[in-house]
């Protein structure tokens, strides 16, 4: 009997993988559903088991299956590991994704699974924390805070109850690594959380997954049921978000699990000291926790040896938007933005010139190709007025209107603001209005300003330069006055668009309307 591997990842299904599987099943082929290998241009991807290894074909349509089965399909790729997109990667976290059946405990164990948990449980909690510290792992959700230090704080805080919370509220556009890992290798995340639980002395864990990820929710729930005896006495459960972007902020996420409005908490106290239900809590991103099994199994040194500057290890980078080779590319820090977008990404899918890339989701800065020599590194991006965030790179071609994107950033902030702090709640709305006036060429004083009571209102017209000064001032207030990164980082896309693409803010309003 022929055996084939086809991804059951949400992105593969969205491209027709289920239809391909149905066509294979009709022909009596045994199909193993895996996660995605991570290059979506070749999805739906079919891999056929042969004596020479798994031979891949993609993209494949359901009506082309016969050509795949007799080996004549034009999209024959050969061994996927030899494909240039994969050969250049260094997969620590995503080693199993796309290879194994995500819900098979046997597959997981056969590919090195649980070794790290067994090793960790034979060590003292402090030794595990030391290993994570030595690896140099930093929070992959975007903040880049050293994971080992966070764990140390929780370990050192005495409490009858502690929690491990996984932030899987991956709301940033241009990012999908958390989703792919949960769908493609859920036991890896579970193992990472179980190691964290041993390291800090926690008994219960939560994985907070956004509701927009129905596949990930289903796979994680099934995986938790199967892995429960293996990770006991540690117990895990999935909590499902409800469409609030701000719940990706860690304290809002904790409030959401507690059954409250997802509003940001003021810090201190840190969640590591008073977190979920007021107890010491490790809250880490999916990718941070999923990096831990490799670190513990292979040793901190193996992880730490890769990287750039103070950014150690690998980063699962996501190439998204208008890019030819979109997908997941895990590599050591230090690779440049230009290599990622042009060499690996292959430029835009439309074939037009790249005008801008947004790195780090809706709160990340827009960079022009002139800055493509930037190395992928937390500090280098911060110095350049941006952030790597969750390492999503969204590519735009030369048809994009950057004033429109700047306005969208403010609009999104206004839409998603939790409302707790004023700079974000009101600033975002004022930001939208100000950008509209910049694009409109300034503003004339209206009837309101002319009223005798309005002594402090501007009686003279404001030109575009004055409106831009106002926007910069507003961004300054939002950046330094907001409680969390939503209001605090929205100035990044706005100001980077303004700084790098000023010509786009200098257009007649009709160009905006055409968009």
């Amino acid at each position: 009997m022929i055996r084939a591997y086809v991804s059951g990842d949400m992105a593969s299904v969205a491209l027709g993988a289920d239809e391909v599987v149905a066509a294979l099943a009709v022909r009596g082929v045994e199909v193993v559903r895996t996660g995605s290998r991570g290059l979506f241009r070749i999805e739906p991807l079919v891999e056929i088991d042969t004596p020479e290894g798994r031979i891949a074909y993609g993209p494949v349509e359901a009506n082309e299956i016969d050509a795949v089965l007799d080996g004549t399909h034009a999209s024959r790729i050969g061994r996927i590991e030899d494909h240039p997109f994969f050969a250049r990667q260094q997969r620590f976290t995503f080693a199993r994704c796309g290879v194994i059946d995500p819900l098979s405990l046997d597959d997981y164990a056969a590919h090195g699974g649980w070794q790290a948990l067994d090793k960790a449980r034979a060590l003292t909690p402090q030794a595990v924390v030391d290993e994570v510290k030595a690896s140099g792992l930093r929070g992959r959700g975007g903040a880049g805070f050293p994971t080992g230090i966070k764990w140390q704080t929780v370990l050192d805080t005495r409490s009858p109850e502690k929690f491990i919370v996984c932030n899987a509220d991956e709301g940033d556009s241009g990012t999908f690594a958390d989703r792919m890992l949960m769908e493609g290798d859920p036991f890896c995340l579970i193992e990472g959380m179980a190691i964290a639980a041993h390291a800090v002395g926690a008994g219960h864990g939560f994985i907070y997954i956004r509701s927009e990820y129905p596949f990930a929710i289903r796979v994680m729930q099934a995986a938790i049921t199967r892995a429960a005896p293996r990770i006991a006495p540690f117990a895990l459960e999935v909590r499902v978000g409800a469409g609030a972007y701000v719940c990706g902020e860690e304290t809002a996420l904790l409030d959401s699990i507690e059954g409250k409005r997802g509003q940001v908490r003021a810090k201190p106290p840190l969640p590591a000291i008073e977190g979920l239900f007021g107890r010491p809590t490790v809250i880490n991103n999916v990718l941070s926790l999923a990096a831990v099994p490799f670190i513990v199994a292979e040793g901190a040194q193996a992880y730490q040896a890769v990287g750039f500057g103070r950014s150690r290890g690998t980063m699962p980078i996501q190439l998204a938007g208008n890019v030819r080779n979109g997908g997941l590319f895990e590599a050591g820090f230090g690779i440049t933005l230009g290599e990622l977008v042009n060499d690996i990404g292959g430029g835009t899918e439309t074939g037009r010139p790249v005008k801008a890339v947004q790195v780090g989701g809706p709160l990340g800065a827009y960079f022009p190709p002139a800055m493509f020599d930037l190395p992928f590194d937390y500090e280098a991006f911060a110095a350049a007025g941006g952030l790597i965030g969750h390492a999503g790179i969204t590519v735009f071609d030369d048809t994009v209107d950057m004033a429109h994107m700047a306005r969208f950033a403010m609009e999104f902030c206004a839409h998603e603001s939790c409302g707790k702090c004023t700079p974000c709640r009101i600033g975002a709305v004022r930001g939208m209005e100000t950008i509209d006036r910049i694009v409109g060429g300034g503003r004339q004083p209206g009837g309101l300003e002319a009223m005798p009571q309005m002594r402090n209102a501007a009686a003279r017209p404001r030109d575009r330069a004055a409106e831009i000064a106002l926007l910069r001032d507003l961004c300054d207030t939002m950046k330094f006055g907001s409680l969390c990164a939503l209001g605090g980082f929205t100035p990044y896309p706005v100001l980077s668009a303004l700084d790098h693409f000023p010509q786009d803010f200098d257009q007649p309003a009709t160009a905006q309307a055409a968009e």
Binding site: A14, G321, N322, G327, T394, F412
Partner: protein, 162 residues
């Protein structure tokens, strides 16, 4: 459920809340799971559910109302028979989502965020489905669709307007 169907009586909500809570302590953190379960069963969070949920979890009605209205997922009126959620986030915008949105709303005869008068279809924005390399994307009755173009929209329209 279509809008002209009559809503079930409050006792149905109370019975459902009791049933859906079973096996879970009636503590505050059960609120979101309970609201999700009620919406899965009834299609929306009816006004009459709020006091029922408040009583079940020993919360004030204002508190439950505050949570229900905070989260975009909880709808206060039934959606159409078919639900089309179109992604509007940056990566889909970079791949032409604005054009797709215009074609889709025209073809389905409904504005963004609204339900058609006959209750057949609701079109809603969604901010990222995590399929960012293959947009524009949609969820059609929970089924993900990538690389949306005029032809795929036509197939979707034929399906939901049938």
């Amino acid at each position: 459920m279509t809008p002209n169907e009559t809503a079930p009586p409050d006792t149905a909500y109370a019975d459902a809340a009791t049933r859906l809570l079973r096996g879970r302590p009636a503590t505050r953190d059960a609120l979101l799971p309970l609201l999700h379960a009620l919406q899965d069963e009834f299609g929306y969070i009816a006004d009459a559910m709020i006091p029922v949920v408040a009583a079940a979890l020993n919360l004030s009605r204002a508190d439950v109302h505050g949570v229900v209205t905070f989260y975009h997922d909880f709808r206060r009126a039934p959606a159409g028979a078919h639900l089309v959620r179109l992604c509007r986030a940056e990566s889909c915008q970079a791949r032409g989502a604005a054009t797709i949105e215009r074609i889709a709303t025209q073809r389905l005869g409904v504005t963004m965020g609204a339900t058609s008068a006959d209750g057949r279809v609701t079109v809603e924005p969604v901010y990222c489905l995590g399929l960012c390399a293959t947009g524009p994307n949609a969820l059609v009755d929970g089924r993900p669709v990538s690389r949306l173009d005029a032809a795929k929209l036509e197939r979707i329209a034929a399906e939901v307007l049938a």
